[in-house]
Amino acid sequence: MTWEILISLLAATVQSGTPILYATLGEIFTERSGILNLGVEGIMLVGALAGFLGAKFTGSPILGFVLGGVFGLGLAGLHGLVCIGFNGNQVVSGLALTILGTGLANYLGTPFIGQSAPGFSPMPAPILSRIPILGEIFFHHDLLIYLSYLIPPLMWLFFRYTRWGLGLRAAGEHPEAAAAAGLNIYRFRWAGVLTGGFLAGLGGAYLSLAYTHLWTSGLTAGRGWIAVALVIFAFWHPLRAVLGAYLFGGVMAFQFRLQALGADLPSSLLLMLPYGLTIIVLVLSSWRGRGDQAPAFLGINVEPSE
């Protein structure tokens, strides 16, 4: 494998990791507030369709991208209503959301399959793109990838150094204590669910606006589920999410290049690699005993006190 191929592989890694990164970060935000949302796949797909249609009909990819996030937020709001408003089972509601989201997006999107919309194209970042090697890997992409570089550090700072961040984590770790301290945990949980939905919607919109400029049913192809798994791999830490998303994206990009280079391996085996790796990584992270770093009240509804 030559040097150029290696660099292009790493650049492709960043690109295929990005939609998953958005969704993983969103799910981390949601889970940190104590709400488990298994509807990421559905939210992403709705975000992808909303983003595509937004860009198609307004002609503005940026507007489309934001719209993808807003629809993701809307769908997550439904989850919030069931879980926070009505104390419904979070697992069931999340699964229902995936079914609803994929069904809705595939149904509404059918007339638009095979059509294209304006989207984001690669534009090398000024100055940064000229850094040797790193510039080629990280700064020859589209705007949305640069944006995704900013979110993990900001989220980390938010969780660690802000009052709201602390409050959101308290809602997931120890809601009763947080409530006793006078925090409105419902508000924090709502914020967690909606922000998470917004980010997952952005991840979906990335697929239809930057990764390709097309819409098709099932465009997300299971990436939402990978994001849910990567949250555990990341131990609910936004910076480690970057590692997880790029690892998955990297293996995806790697197996195609192995094929293109003429590796004499069955293609089915290679196509399976990213998913197999996800399972192995999950097993390893549980084995190391850090799987119990989940927020203590993750997935548990808080009964309103009388």
Partner: protein, 359 residues
């Protein structure tokens, strides 16, 4: 009185003659109802789009009424759709995906008076025929264009599933490229998808990264075309002219044109002369063709391609004519021989110059 008798006699004769005439013509149908089943949505381009264009063309024929159901998953769902059409007295049903074969066979047994036509399969019944086109002929021509335009002598092929149809297409493409450029190599990446733009685009990019400067594809999505367009290299479309998705990159596309075939079958069914058969038409009947070649391709290359097309149509040239070696250098089709249809339909090996596996 006599007059009255003559009239009566004439009337009797008319009455007597009418049923006989009806008997004679019972096979002929004035109005027929035709159903189409598509595996994917019609959309703006691609496999089902091409079938639907032909459907629209036969809809314009006299006494023909058509309807279609799109996005029908292969398997039990398709059986239900066909059953429903047969119950509603459709005279002719076209199912346009490989996986509809067994469900169609089942339904065909229950409705012996309905004509069933299955695309791309190999099973028939007294009232069920099948049909396909020799797309490999058009792929050979598109390979000539690609072979003439590459500067790196590396062509990338984004391949769908390792089945004979796809392998045959890759081989024909490689042979076409080698006919104008003996150095041309074809690198193959399998996606195991028929329509997944994100995956197919990623696969195309991986081919571009290893030096390919012309991208060909077998899937329905324009994902690979986008990748070629963004990198500023060339692409070969498929199914329908894909130049709208890659105006700079797109050179030519092997395309489907089902209209002449569907018209012929409709004519046969209306005339009552339809018989169960396996059709495998080629360029000569225009069921497959190539889209207009881009003017980026030099005029002499374009002429060469069109001359070759004329040779195939005139049957003075066949694509799989020996000597053809496989990847290991073993002679698979000896000199002076052409591959038989049975061999083509079961093809599971790559020709020399293709890099990749058929696994």
């Amino acid at each position: 009185m006599i007059m009255k008798r003559i009239v009566l006699l004439a009337l009797a004769m008319v009455l007597a003659w009418q049923p006989a005439a009806a008997e004679e013509k019972s096979n002929e149908k004035k109005n027929i109802k035709i159903g189409f089943i598509y595996v994917s949505p019609v959309g703006d381009a691609g496999w089902s789009y091409a079938h639907n264009e032909a459907r629209k063309a036969i809809e314009a024929m006299e006494g023909v009424e058509t309807s279609f159901v799109e996005s029908v998953p292969e398997g039990p769902d398709s059986e239900r759709v066909m059953l429903n059409m047969a119950r509603k007295d459709f005279d002719l049903i076209f199912a346009t995906s490989f996986g509809y074969m067994d469900p169609m066979l089942k339904v065909a047994k229950r409705f012996p008076d309905t004509v069933f036509m299955h695309c791309s399969g190999f099973k028939t019944a007294p009232n069920m025929g099948n049909y396909f086109g020799r797309m490999y002929q058009a792929r050979y021509l598109s390979g000539m264009v690609a072979g003439a335009m590459t500067r790196t002598d590396t062509l990338g092929y984004v391949a769908a599933f390792p089945i004979p149809e796809v392998i045959r297409g890759i081989n024909a493409f490689a042979l076409g490229a080698q006919s104008v450029n003996p150095e041309a190599k074809v690198r193959v990446v399998w996606t195991k998808t028929w329509y997944d733009p994100a995956t197919e685009k990623e696969a195309a990019k991986s081919l571009l990264d290893v030096g390919a400067d012309v991208i060909a594809q077998h899937q329905d999505s324009p994902g690979p075309q986008e990748a070629a367009q963004q990198r500023g290299v060339y692409s070969i479309g498929y199914n329908t002219d894909m130049s709208q998705f890659a105006p700079e990159a797109h050179l030519v596309a092997p395309v489907w044109n089902w209209t002449p075939f569907y018209k012929e079958i409709v004519r046969q069914v209306k005339a009552g002369s339809w018989e169960s058969k396996s059709y495998w038409w080629g360029l000569e009947k225009e069921i497959v063709d190539i889209s207009p070649i881009s003017d980026k391709v030099p005029a002499d290359v374009r002429k060469k391609v069109l001359d070759k097309k004329a040779d195939i149509i005139a049957d003075t040239f066949t694509v799989f004519t020996g000597p053809i070696k496989d990847q290991q250098g073993k002679v698979r089709i000896p000199e002076g021989k052409s591959a038989a249809d049975a061999e083509l339909l079961g093809m599971d090996w790559f020709v020399e110059g293709v890099i990749g596996t058929t696994k």
